[in-house]
């Protein structure tokens, strides 16, 4: 049961990714970065994508935004946004789709601000280019936007280097929600920040989400953060989704050994000190099969010998 089915009227998924396969084509060999990945995000839902570096999670985000460049190629599958086929969009449709429908905050995005333009000029640019407002109107809206993320509108005249890392990241998030997109993609939005600032940023995102009602695709390797923020989540390994369920279910009963290793990588802050193991160096999973439903709403890729996942009902889990 997703949040979209509980708290919002619409049962329609905002984003639906089906059997997405992305390859990096080389001269002699090619690598499959994303392998038959399927998931959907409902209206107002926060969907988490967890995994380590190289697992393909950022490639998925870039595929959704159609930002992939050679040698990356979408080799199969479909991405539909609000019923529209994202992969078939024309350049003009894409221009509207980005920012207005889907906005993305990149990892250490605060460093992607143009250092020679003021924050105000950069926000105004979004409104004039994408929404066609007048300069004066854009400036007024830019001020409102900064207020939304609790930055003094006087800061419109500041250059990026005059703001702290946390403020810059908040400014970037403000820019992302400027045109009220229905989906916000956050790719490790707080990795470069300290915990206290991270907490503030996450608070900001949560508040904005409550106010504006957009859906979120949240990408991180920090399982604790993900469980706290996401409604549903998926764990990726080697381009495949190995487990997907409600975040609380993944947290309470991780079923795939890789998920268990990721969970075990974050020691708890409370309770007795227990020995954790993590994933032994060199352990690899290969030929990860399609997901099966291990418990209601809890889909896991079955593991061979020594798997702790009890195989209950076998269902077409991957093609939700």
């Amino acid at each position: 049961m997703t949040v979209s089915q509980v708290s919002f009227g619409s049962h329609e998924p905002v984003l639906e990714v089906k059997n997405l396969t992305v390859k990096y084509i080389g001269d002699t060999r090619s690598t499959t970065a994303v392998d038959r990945v399927s998931f959907s995000i409902g209206t107002g839902e926060v969907f988490g994508l967890a995994g380590e570096s190289g697992c393909g999670k950022s490639t998925i985000a870039n595929s959704i935004m159609r930002l992939l460049k050679d040698p990356a190629k979408i080799a199969g599958g479909s991405i539909s946004f609000g019923g529209k086929d994202v992969l078939a969009m024309s350049p003009e449709e894409l221009r509207r789709f980005r920012w207005q429908d889907v906005a993305m905050v990149f990892q250490s995005a605060m460093n992607s601000l143009n250092p020679v333009l003021t924050i105000g000029e950069q926000i105004v640019d979004i409104f004039t280019t994408h929404a066609g407002y007048s300069r004066k109107e854009s400036l007024r809206r830019a001020g409102e936007l900064l207020e939304l993320v609790r930055i003094d509108p006087a800061r419109l005249k500041s250059y990026p280097h005059q703001l702290s890392g946390g403020m810059r990241q908040r400014a970037v998030i403000a820019m992302a929600v400027a045109l009220k997109p229905s989906l916000l993609i956050l790719d490790e939005p707080t990795t470069a920040l300290d915990v206290v600032v991270q907490q503030e940023i996450m608070a900001q995102i949560k508040e904005l989400q409550r106010e504006l009602g957009f859906s979120v695709l949240f990408i991180t390797h920090d399982m604790s953060l993900m469980v706290e923020l996401s409604h549903r989540m998926a764990v990726m390994y080697g381009g495949r989704i190995v487990e997907t369920a409600k975040a609380q279910d993944v947290y309470a009963t991780p079923r795939h050994p890789y998920t268990q290793a990721l969970m075990g990588a974050f020691p708890p802050l409370t309770g007795p000190r227990v020995s954790l193991t993590g994933l032994p160096d060199g352990v690899k999973f290969r030929n990860i099969p399609d997901l099966t439903e291990a418990a209601p709403g809890h889909f896991v890729a079955p593991v061979g010998a020594g798997a702790s996942a009890p195989d209950t009902a076998i269902m077409e889990g991957a093609a939700r």
Partner: protein
């Protein structure tokens, strides 16, 4: 007042000199031009003791001065004031101008970035063999050296045949293990580990922490573990010290410190760590409010408020809870009677600042 004010001579568990002791360490960096007399205070009056076979974690946010402390202790940076004692000997007096080989054989560092700290042109064997040769810890014959090399690899959990590998053939976790083996080759008393796991993939981080714990348990090596990750500090370290704006503000047995943080800054850090297991689910808005409350009531020297006691005089250490936990805090706002459990941040007493 019922505050137990700790004397500067803190009782140590054994009569032996601690493995590493830092007394009143300060460091200022000059800022501005060549003739500028301005400076920024990166460290101020840091007292820290690491017993033999003890792991102490140093936590704080970036810019709090924890890496500066590590660089000063490792003598990569010259401290402006204070003493650094290893086994009771002041190494700043012993080797006045730079770190001696004797110092390096007592203290080794493991750095954050295993991709940058190993020369890509050399095989793993080179790094270890070089340490063994320089510090003459490889034995007298080639057979003994070879044996020692294999022993080192086994100790850090790597295959002996990886001695022939180049760094680029190894994963991040394996590289960090090589870096640890290189430090071990010297047979040091103390290892300084500056964020040794923050650049590793999350699933192998715990393995490196477990290795550090094993080295302490089996070889009695003392460690200073520098991190911004409170949960891993709690997992690995016997004691944890919290650094804020270049000063230690709180220190104690790790479990006790994180369960009963007394200093507002520690409370803020603890409350900011995402932990789904914690009672009361994630409410970032509430937490952000807490942060504001904490920051407002942190009457520290750096608040710039001359009306606060802390700004007027040096804060002193107050003992927190059971003396066994060696838990102290430097804050005038702290009131020991406020209950043994976690303090509610909002009800932090403000009428008590005239203490000490």
């Amino acid at each position: 007042m019922s505050h137990a004010v700790l004397s500067s001579q803190r009782p140590s568990a054994d009569t032996e000199a601690p493995a590493l002791e830092v007394r009143g360490l300060g460091k200022s960096f000059p800022i501005g031009g060549l003739f500028s007399r301005e400076s920024v205070r990166a460290l101020h009056g840091v007292d820290l003791t690491i017993g033999r076979g003890e792991i102490v974690a140093l936590v704080g946010e970036s810019g709090s001065g924890k890496s500066t402390l590590a660089r000063c202790v490792a003598r990569l940076e010259k401290p402006s004031s204070g003493e650094i004692l290893i086994d009771g000997v002041d190494v700043l007096k012993r080797d006045r101008f730079q770190a001696s080989r004797a110092f390096r054989s007592q203290l080794q560092m493991v750095f954050q970035d295993p991709f940058g700290s190993l020369n890509p042109a050399h095989r793993v064997e080179h790094f270890l063999r070089r340490s063994l040769a320089i510090h003459r810890t490889g034995g007298s014959s080639e057979t003994e050296t070879q044996q020692r090399l294999e022993e080192l690899m086994t100790t850090v959990g790597l295959q002996a045949d990886m001695l022939n590998s180049y760094p680029h053939e190894l994963s991040g976790g394996q590289r960090q293990r090589v870096a640890i083996a290189r430090a071990l080759a010297v047979e040091p008393r103390v290892i300084l580990a500056d964020e040794p796991t923050s650049m590793l993939d999350v699933s192998v981080r715990i393995g490196v922490l477990n290795l550090m714990r094993k080295l302490r348990d089996e070889q009695g090596i003392s460690m200073l573990y520098i991190t911004h990750d409170l949960a891993s500090a709690r997992y690995l370290a016997d004691r944890t010290a919290v650094m804020f704006a270049g000063e230690l503000v709180e220190e104690g047995e790790s479990l006790d410190l994180l369960a009963n943080p007394a200093h507002p800054y520690t409370q803020l850090l603890v409350s900011a760590v995402p932990d789904p297991a914690r009672a009361g689910s994630y409410d970032p808005v509430r937490r952000a409010e807490l942060r504001q409350a904490v920051m407002a009531s942190t009457s520290c020297a750096f608040d710039g408020d001359p009306n606060q006691t802390c700004s007027a005089e040096e804060p002193v250490r107050h003992r927190v809870g059971d003396p066994e936990n060696r838990h102290w805090v430097r804050c005038h706002l702290y009131r020991p009677q406020a209950g043994a459990g976690g303090h509610a941040l909002a009800t932090e007493p403000t009428d008590n600042k005239a203490s000490a």
